[in-house]
Symmetry: C2
Subunit: 351 residues, 2 copies
Amino acid sequence: MAYQELRQNPITGNWVIIAEDRSKRPGVLQINGKVQLPAYDKDCVFCPGNEDKTPPEILAYRNGDVWWARTIPNKFPALSLEARIDGQPQIIREGMFVRMPGYGVHEVIIETPSHNQDIYDRELGQVREMLWMYRDRLTTYKNEEELENILIFKNKGDTAAASLYHPHSQLTASPVHMQRLDLEIEGSQRYFLSENFMGKKEQCGYCDMINQEIEIKDKFGVTSSVNRLIAENPYSIAFLPFASAFPFETWIMPKNHRSDYTLISPEEATQLAIITKEVFEKLHRALPNFDYNMILHTTPLNAGIQEYYHWHFEIIPKLTKIGGFELGSGIFINIVAPEKAAKFMNTGLDY
Amino acid sequence: MAYQELRQNPITGNWVIIAEDRSKRPGVLQINGKVQLPAYDKDCVFCPGNEDKTPPEILAYRNGDVWWARTIPNKFPALSLEARIDGQPQIIREGMFVRMPGYGVHEVIIETPSHNQDIYDRELGQVREMLWMYRDRLTTYKNEEELENILIFKNKGDTAAASLYHPHSQLTASPVHMQRLDLEIEGSQRYFLSENFMGKKEQCGYCDMINQEIEIKDKFGVTSSVNRLIAENPYSIAFLPFASAFPFETWIMPKNHRSDYTLISPEEATQLAIITKEVFEKLHRALPNFDYNMILHTTPLNAGIQEYYHWHFEIIPKLTKIGGFELGSGIFINIVAPEKAAKFMNTGLDY
């Protein structure tokens, strides 16, 4: 019988099912992203030379006409700062229903002038500038009192819901709670206030997780069948989480406790760029030219430094489809155990 | 500027964004399900004549060799009753991590002998038998003490994560909490214990919702641009929910308060079959041969009759992709307002 296991996310309390599909070993997983792109496309609104075809620039890293990262408003925003009446978000009640004009922020970050370079084949400096742009844009909204939650995410490829090919990320901020982020924040608060598995209180769950992943790696080795660690440097760590919801789901986070991404130092940003590039190289070797979503979870706006939360990137390769079970239960079925995916990424060896 | 609105689900408290994509009016939405199937496929393990190619039948509605609905164990289960040690689900702790062998139930319900009849082009009696089979299978596990949550769902088509074409549903039950169902149960408890918009306590949120949808329809008319009601009969009602997460998302539920699907009466089942067929006919006219997920949410096992919960079907046509925003925030962006989808379903008129 195939391997089936229920695993609980130690932060949120949510469960996932690891149910091996033996017809889909890591080496033969269906990979969706196969589009080959040119380095430059004169019809792409994000390519150099077409700057006047985008809404007016909000921020750019540039030297005269030459730029290496730009932020612009989303031309088709899901949320907008204009949706405000007398400077206030407007709550409308109709019987039991509550609605609000779509007040918020929706920006696009053009990560690179190159039309075809994904993170794994960019220069390190270019990766660092993207990460620094994230910091700059988050900082802008940090004290915006009418906004609550902020999210940076990236969709790469058709199957990951990208509508444009040129590498870009998006930033959204809104006055309403983002339930997925709430679940993490509340879960990490609960973890902090309870005794952890060592009987200690006031521990950050993510710090505990990092320590346990390092311990397993040290005890059994990075190529062992229980290791989930992928990369490590003085400031950063990357691993496949124990309760991965998706095959090859990978998290990157600061090794030391950090709740607020905007406080990243220049040296930390360099180390983060190094590990991000390394992780994407390893993912790309395992899943050539894969489509993916990448998400940055950081502390809510106006929340200040928190002892219980820990910012992190979640990278979710798009390899499987979401069906009625996932939509109806909230439980994801993951057909590749994270230890197996990690071993494949670390050794290239299938099982 | 395009229409953008934040809407709150009155039961769960979760938000969705209604952000019209004017390039994707209802009449030109991308519809994924275009596979034309034969009525019979000799190589299909679910077609009549191949009964010996499935695991042994658990329950069938049959007359001698002729059957019209069958339930079998899933051949590749995500959860299994065998994953138990000495009759108990086994919890394994490793530092901060908790895992459990994949204990639970995973069944397949073959809805019809026909290889190609989706719900909209089946005989009414055949639809009713599917719904009655749901009742029978749920009843079996109703008092199973080691199981907690139960879910019936259906994936139709490739993009909805179906791996076999022959019309089938699935039943899963597990000892762990299904977070999506919990959210509804807890939300409906909270609603019940709080004052509703009329200042009344101890109301079922779903009953309130039904009343408000009927009121809007009565006041403005079924073809108006604010109506969300699609179908109605003495026992059942179908509408597109106010805070729809997906374009054309449709709910079917009993008109009177019912928390436990297994208590459905024969007459109620007939009326449910009538409305289910009607809803699928309307969806199929709007979205020819569409792929979809269908989910039945009923009260958890061992919970008994509840004043605050209301069973319902959720039908989710597969028309859009899930991206980093949805995965990272838990907020879904719906590009067709439910009022517009309802109007299109009721009148065939695009906007």
